[in-house]
C-alpha cells in the first residue's frame, strides 16, 4: 500500500501526458478529417484520389505498425539528412511521433465520419441559402457546417473513445505516459497488478467522463429534432 501512495503522483503525472497526447492527436485528426472529407467530396478526380488512398491505406494496417514506422523510420530519415549536411542529428521525440501518428491514423476515420455527415445535409438547405443571397462561405458556416456537425457527432464521439484507448500504445515507443510509468513502478515494487489496475481505472474514468460529455453535446446539437417514440 505504501508503494502505491509513493508512486501514485508519478502515475497521475503520466495520465496528464496521456490526456495531452489524446487531445493534440484528436485536434490533428479532426483537421485532417475535414481536409480529407473536403477532398473526397470534391469534383476533381485529382483531389479525390489521394483522399481515397489515404483512408484505405491507413485503415488497412494496425496503429502500432504505423507508429513504429514513423518513429524508427523518421529517425533514419533525420540521421540521413543530418549526415548529408554534416550536422549533428537530433533524436526523434516519442511524443511528437506518437501524436502525429495517432492524429494521422484517426484523420482517416474522421474523413469518413465527416464525409458521411456532409452528405447527410439535404441539398435543398444549401439551395435555400443561395436563394436568400448568401455567398458560398455564408452558406457553409451558417447552414452546412452546423448541420453537418449534428450528423457527425455520434461518429466523432466513437472515434474519440477509440483514440483515447489507443494512446496506451505510445508507451511501446518509449513515451513516459501512465502505462510506461505503471510498468516501471510495477517492476521496482514487484506489484505490477496493482499499478496496471490503477491505469485501467484511470482509463475507465476518462472513457466514462467522455461518454457523459458526448451525450450532453449530442443532446445540445439535436435541439429541434423530432424523435419518434415507439
Amino acid at each position: 500500500m505504501n508503494e502505491l501512495v509513493e508512486y501514485f503522483p508519478a502515475i497521475l503525472q503520466g495520465s496528464l501526458v496521456t490526456v495531452k497526447v489524446a487531445l493534440l492527436s484528436v485536434l490533428l485528426a479532426i483537421l485532417l478529417g475535414l481536409a480529407g472529407a473536403a477532398s473526397r467530396l470534391s469534383a476533381s478526380r485529382w483531389l479525390r484520389f489521394p483522399a481515397v488512398a489515404y483512408t484505405t491505406l491507413i485503415r488497412g494496417m494496425p496503429d502500432l505498425v504505423l507508429m513504429l514506422l514513423v518513429f524508427y523510420g523518421g529517425q533514419v530519415v533525420v540521421n540521413n539528412i543530418a549526415d548529408r549536411y554534416a550536422v549533428e542529428p537530433f533524436d526523434l521525440d516519442p511524443f511528437v511521433a506518437g501524436v502525429s501518428t495517432i492524429g494521422f491514423i484517426f484523420g482517416a476515420y474522421f474523413t469518413e465520419t465527416f464525409r458521411g455527415a456532409f452528405m447527410a445535409v439535404p441539398a435543398g438547405q444549401m439551395e435555400a441559402g443561395r436563394a436568400y443571397g448568401m455567398n458560398r462561405w455564408q452558406v457553409f458556416h451558417r447552414i452546412l457546417f452546423p448541420q453537418m456537425l449534428r450528423h457527425a457527432l455520434p461518429g466523432i464521439g466513437n472515434n474519440w473513445q477509440v483514440l483515447l484507448k489507443s494512446t496506451a500504445i505510445v508507451s511501446m515507443i518509449g513515451l513516459t505516459d501512465m502505462t510506461l510509468l505503471a510498468d516501471q513502478a510495477g517492476r521496482t515494487t514487484h506489484q505490477p497488478f496493482i499499478f496496471y489496475s490503477v491505469v485501467a481505472g484511470i482509463y475507465l474514468l476518462f472513457t466514462a467522463a467522455s461518454g457523459w460529455g458526448i451525450n450532453r453535446l449530442e443532446r445540445r446539437y439535436s435541439v429541434g429534432v423530432r424523435h419518434a417514440r415507439l
Binding site: L57, R59, G60, M61, P62, D63, L64, V65, L66, L68, L69, Y72, G73, Q75, V76, N80, K165, S166, T167, A168, I169, S171, M172, T179, D183, G186, H190, Q191, P192, F193, I194, Y196, S197, V199, A200, Y203, L204, T207, A208
Partner: protein, 241 residues
C-alpha cells in the same frame, strides 16, 4: 534506400509471424463468438440483474485499452503469491499464465467477447416485434423462439458490424509483441533490429496486414451477399436484364 534483399531474406520470419497473428486472431474470435452468444442473450434479456451484470463486464473491457488488459494478465498476475506457488507446485492451469501465447489469447478473447456481446445484444433487441409475436402465436417456448427466430435472424443482421470487429481484432493483435510474442508486428520489430532497416521491416508488415484486411473484407462481402441478399437495395429492372 529500400533494400529488397533484406525483405526476401526475412520472408520466413514474416511468414511465421503472419501465421501466429492469424492463429491468435482466429482462436480469439472463435472463443469470443462462442461465449458472446449466450452472454448476448443474457444482455438482451428483460431480467434486469442478468442484463446489468453482463453489461458490467462489457463496460469494463470496452472502457480500457486492450494493451493494459494484456499486461495485467501476463505481467500483473505474477505478482500474487498463490500464482507463484501454483507455478512451483506445477499446477497445470496456473502454469498456462506463464505462456505469452495463452495470455495474449485470453486477453484478446475477453476483449472481443465484450464487443461481440454488445453487437449481438444490439441486433437481438432489434428483432421486429411481429416476428416474436408470430413465434409466440405458434406456441414456441422462449428457448425455441431464440433458437429459431431471434438468434439466426439477428446473426445475419449482425454481419456488417461483426466484420468491423473482426478487422479490429486482426489489427489489435499487433500488440502481442508487447509480451514477447513474435507475431507479424513482432517479426517486423525483429527484422528492424537485426538489419536496422525500419522501412523494409514495417512497410512489409503493413502491406501484409493490409492484404489480410482486404481478404477479410472480401470474405464478409460474400457472407453478406449470401445471408443478407434479401436486404440488398433493389436494382432497377432494366439493370437486372
Amino acid at each position: 534506400m529500400f533494400d529488397f534483399a533484406i525483405i526476401i531474406e526475412s520472408l520466413p520470419e514474416f511468414a511465421r509471424g503472419t501465421l501466429l497473428s492469424l492463429e491468435l486472431m482466429a482462436l480469439s474470435l472463435l472463443a469470443g463468438f462462442v461465449v458472446a452468444l449466450p452472454l448476448a442473450v443474457a444482455r438482451s434479456s428483460s431480467i434486469l440483474w442478468l442484463s446489468r451484470s453482463v453489461g458490467m463486464y462489457t463496460y469494463l473491457f470496452r472502457g480500457t485499452p486492450m494493451l493494459i488488459q494484456l499486461l495485467l494478465i501476463y505481467y500483473g498476475l505474477s505478482q500474487f503469491q498463490w500464482m507463484q506457488d501454483g507455478w512451483e507446485s506445477g499446477n497445470p492451469v496456473l502454469l498456462l499464465f506463464r505462456e505469452p501465447f495463452f495470455c495474449a489469447w485470453l486477453a484478446f478473447a475477453l476483449n472481443t467477447t465484450a464487443y461481440t456481446t454488445e453487437i449481438f445484444a444490439g441486433v437481438f433487441k432489434n428483432t421486429p416485434v411481429g416476428e416474436i409475436e408470430a413465434g409466440r402465436a405458434m406456441g414456441m417456448t422462449h428457448f425455441t423462439l431464440l433458437r429459431r427466430i431471434v438468434i439466426p435472424a439477428g446473426l445475419g443482421r449482425a454481419i456488417p458490424t461483426y466484420s468491423n470487429e473482426v478487422i479490429l481484432m486482426l489489427q489489435g493483435s499487433a500488440i502481442a509483441s508487447a509480451v514477447t510474442l513474435v507475431d507479424l508486428t513482432g517479426a517486423a520489430r525483429y527484422v528492424y533490429s537485426r538489419h536496422f532497416a525500419p522501412f523494409e521491416a514495417f512497410i512489409t508488415a503493413g502491406i501484409i496486414y493490409m492484404l489480410l484486411t482486404f481478404c477479410l473484407v472480401g470474405i464478409f462481402r460474400m457472407a453478406e451477399n449470401h445471408w443478407l441478399g434479401h436486404l440488398r437495395p433493389r436494382t432497377s429492372p432494366d439493370k437486372q436484364r
